[in-house]
Symmetry: C2
Subunit: 270 residues, 2 copies
């Protein structure tokens, strides 16, 4: 999916919501456990219930990988169930020497057909660029993360600024606003101001709205650009909103709530 299509979907749906499918067998409604494939059944129900409100789904690869080969099948089947016009993210945090990143790119872009993959920047340019050997595929690079450990190294600063800013500045010369997004945590919304100074045009994937803290309003105040430029993720807050037979309706309600808040901002665009 290219940038134009993504922006057009955002305008059409009046939403920049990304729903995170961090599906954990321990947390899904008990009545699904009698199903032959409970996780897939859960994912399909969540997708059916929320696809009207979401422009993106983020599949947290760890939650599938921990089930082995079976998990990988569920991952593929879930991906294939997502409508074509919805932007898909393999939240994998990969990154290795070029030769190996090429294989990860093959995993997510050729063997499966994700639109994007999250990548960790520690190993630099040649660990990132192999993901761009496929047309219309995106790298979503870790910049500033919202977890506690995010401060351990991301703020280390030399004359060129803190690490997370250097990651953004350097990588902006490797890719473009048309194939590169950044992961920026939402717990410190005031930092979006500085981030927009470095990357005014890039899309930002914002985890951490909802269960991990940070409000939509805060993020939008500083983070929006003229194409919206944000994908705001909510995982647990939506998919585990209910735990009974009506779990999918509850999830839909939460997604709708966020979409309606987002609508105001999208309407201001045009």
């Amino acid at each position: 999916m290219n940038r134009q299509e993504l922006v057009s979907n955002i305008k059409k749906k009046k939403s920049f919501l990304c729903v995170g499918l961090d599906t954990d067998i321990q947390k899904i409604p008990k009545h699904l456990l009698s199903n032959e494939n409970p996780i897939l059944a859960f994912n399909k129900a969540i997708i059916d219930a929320t696809k009207e409100y979401a422009v993106s789904y983020k599949l947290n690869i760890a939650f599938y990988e921990c089930l082995g080969a079976k998990g990988w099948e569920i991952l593929e089947e879930t991906l294939n169930y997502i409508p074509e016009d919805i932007f898909t993210i393999s939240d994998a945090k990969r990154g290795d020497i070029g030769n190996t990143s090429k294989m990860y790119a093959k995993a997510f872009f050729e063997n499966m057909n994700f639109n994007s993959v999250t990548v960790a920047p520690y190993m630099g340019q040649d660990s990132v660029s192999p993901f761009w050997t496929y047309d219309n595929k995106w790298v979503i690079l870790l910049a500033l993360t919202s977890n506690k450990g995010g401060d351990d190294f991301q703020q280390i600063e030399d004359a060129n600024g803190p690490l997370y800013k250097q990651v953004m500045e350097k990588s902006a010369t490797w890719g473009s606003k048309n194939n590169l997004m950044y992961v920026v945590g939402a717990t410190r919304p005031e930092m979006f101001k500085e981030i927009r100074a470095i990357a005014p045009d890039h899309f930002l994937l914002v985890p951490g709205v909802g269960a991990q803290g940070g409000t939509l309003e805060d993020v939008c105040q500083y983070g929006l650009n003229e194409d919206i430029g944000l994908l705001i993720n909510s995982s647990r807050g939506i998919i585990y909103a209910g735990n009974g037979p009506d779990f999918a309706q509850k999830a839909a309600l939460e997604a709708k709530k966020l979409q309606e808040q987002m609508e105001t901002y999208v309407n201001k665009l045009s």
Copy 2:
């Protein structure tokens, strides 16, 4: 596997060789392609031929993941084929928020039974420590990598030193020499001197001897400690040493050559 067992295996085999199973269907001998499962057949033959000389096998997860669910099965079957007394590394370069790293730990330490996993440090402590919730399992943390992009961010320096040193110093307070190793590239062997000043006791996983450059002698000169403290990896230089029906013998020869060089250093220990 605990440290004592690892050191004892090194002394017994007079080797600190790690064989990297970066198995690529494009590169294995053509005659194996008629096999029902060519990659598994290749891995088994390589393991049979080299297990006498190796104390560790490193499975590069990307090379299996790019084959989807089938690749994950091959990964598991390969792991299960490795003798119990050989230290196994899932070279996965994972790392995410705690909740997610916990799932990756489950994938490699519970669903599969690897002894260790490589982890990227960008997201800090809470992205690393979930891997230590299993006994006798190791984190091998990226510190200084030998690829070109390694210089993009790892050398960023503030008053506390360059990033890669801060990664080592901080993480040494999270884990110990009994559950934490570091990935240190071999292209700049003189840097092992500085690294040993920070981490005199930790094991170092050294990729990049062979195809990626750097000689064993250089690394040993500065990198050895009183328990050897090194696992030296060779992937392509061993597993693709031959391309005909005798590929496994050729691999054995290359592994033996490295083991014999290592023997001199191990003999100096006692």
